[in-house]
């Protein structure tokens, strides 16, 4: 078995694609139209295009428990997933300038530094820098 795709639930795929590419800097890899307006939509890291893909899946829109779970995590401020960055402070500054909203500003936690932002698609996402 290989780890090829991991998913993030999003409320609106088009909006998510815009945020994950234009704001976060990932690039679109696969875009397959499925039933109705749903798509099999994945993004990857620009420098690691053969790396693990992130599937932006519209589950909260179609499956009530997914919506409930997503909202509960969001309200508790719990990140749905996390990405590694070279420098949290720098990335925090860059995203802040783009209007991204942070619920945890850069915080040192032992051997890592973390920050948490709102992905505007229903999730909190954590960025991590290894110290």
């Amino acid at each position: 078995m290989k780890i090829k795709v991991l998913s993030i639930p999003v409320q609106d795929q088009e909006k998510a694609l815009k945020f994950y590419t234009e704001t976060l800097g990932f690039i679109k890899k696969v875009d397959v139209p499925l039933s109705e307006e749903n798509r099999w939509l994945t993004v990857v890291n620009k420098e690691e295009q053969d790396g693990t893909e992130i599937l932006l899946e519209p589950s909260p829109k179609h499956f009530e428990p997914a919506k409930t779970y997503q909202k509960a995590l969001f309200d508790a401020g719990i990140p749905y997933t996390q990405f590694n960055v070279e420098n949290v402070q720098q990335e925090y500054g860059r995203l802040n300038n783009l209007g991204v909203e942070f619920s945890v500003s850069p915080t040192e936690m032992g051997t890592v530094k973390i920050a948490v932002f709102n992905d505007t698609c229903g999730n909190k996402i954590q960025i991590v820098e290894m110290l």
């Binding site: 053969d50 309200d75 508790a76 401020g77 719990i78 990140p79 619920s103 945890v104 915080t107 936690m109 032992g110 051997t111 973390i114 948490v116 909190k124 290894m130 110290l131």
Partner: protein, 152 residues
């Protein structure tokens, strides 16, 4: 007159109440796992040393000399905070670097020595074990991928 500590206290409470569950958890876990600042500074220093000297032999004697602790203690601390032994961490670092060098077109044996391994054949075996293909195949694949990008 007694100073009234009320104001700052209520302020702290207000901040606490506004915190999300996750923020409270961060503070709680920090207190439990990351309260020993000296240990943390030690392991961060070790990791930085490995990051900057990945192409050299890992010298724990030197590190323990600088940090005034036994090398076994250093090993244990590193594993405790990073979840990997320094040796595992170093090997992963070298493999990551070697992928970059191979992509740049460096030869397999040159890559091997540049990241600090001593024998190209054991480097190839290790690379295959970690990445799933030999450095030669990896390099070929990278090259054909960039070629097809140019052609498309």
């Amino acid at each position: 007159m007694l100073k009234t500590p009320n104001k700052p206290y209520t302020n702290t409470l207000a901040v606490m109440n506004k915190m999300t569950f996750y923020q409270k958890e961060i503070n709680r876990i920090k207190g439990i796992c990351y309260s020993n600042d000296r240990q943390i500074q030690t392991v961060i220093g070790m990791r930085n040393y490995i990051e900057n000297n990945f192409d050299k032999e890992l010298n724990l004697d030197l590190l323990s000399h600088i940090r005034f602790t036994s090398k076994f203690h250093l090993l244990r601390l590193f594993k405790k905070y990073y979840g990997q032994t320094p040796r595992q961490y170093l090997i992963d670092k070298r493999i990551t670097k070697s992928k970059i060098y191979l992509r740049m077109g460096m030869s397999v044996s040159e890559t091997c020595y540049s990241v600090g391994f001593e024998s190209p054949s054991s480097f190839s075996t290790l690379f295959k074990k970690k990445i799933g293909k030999t450095p030669t195949d990896f390099q070929k694949e990278q090259f054909s991928q960039s070629q097809s990008k140019v052609n498309s």
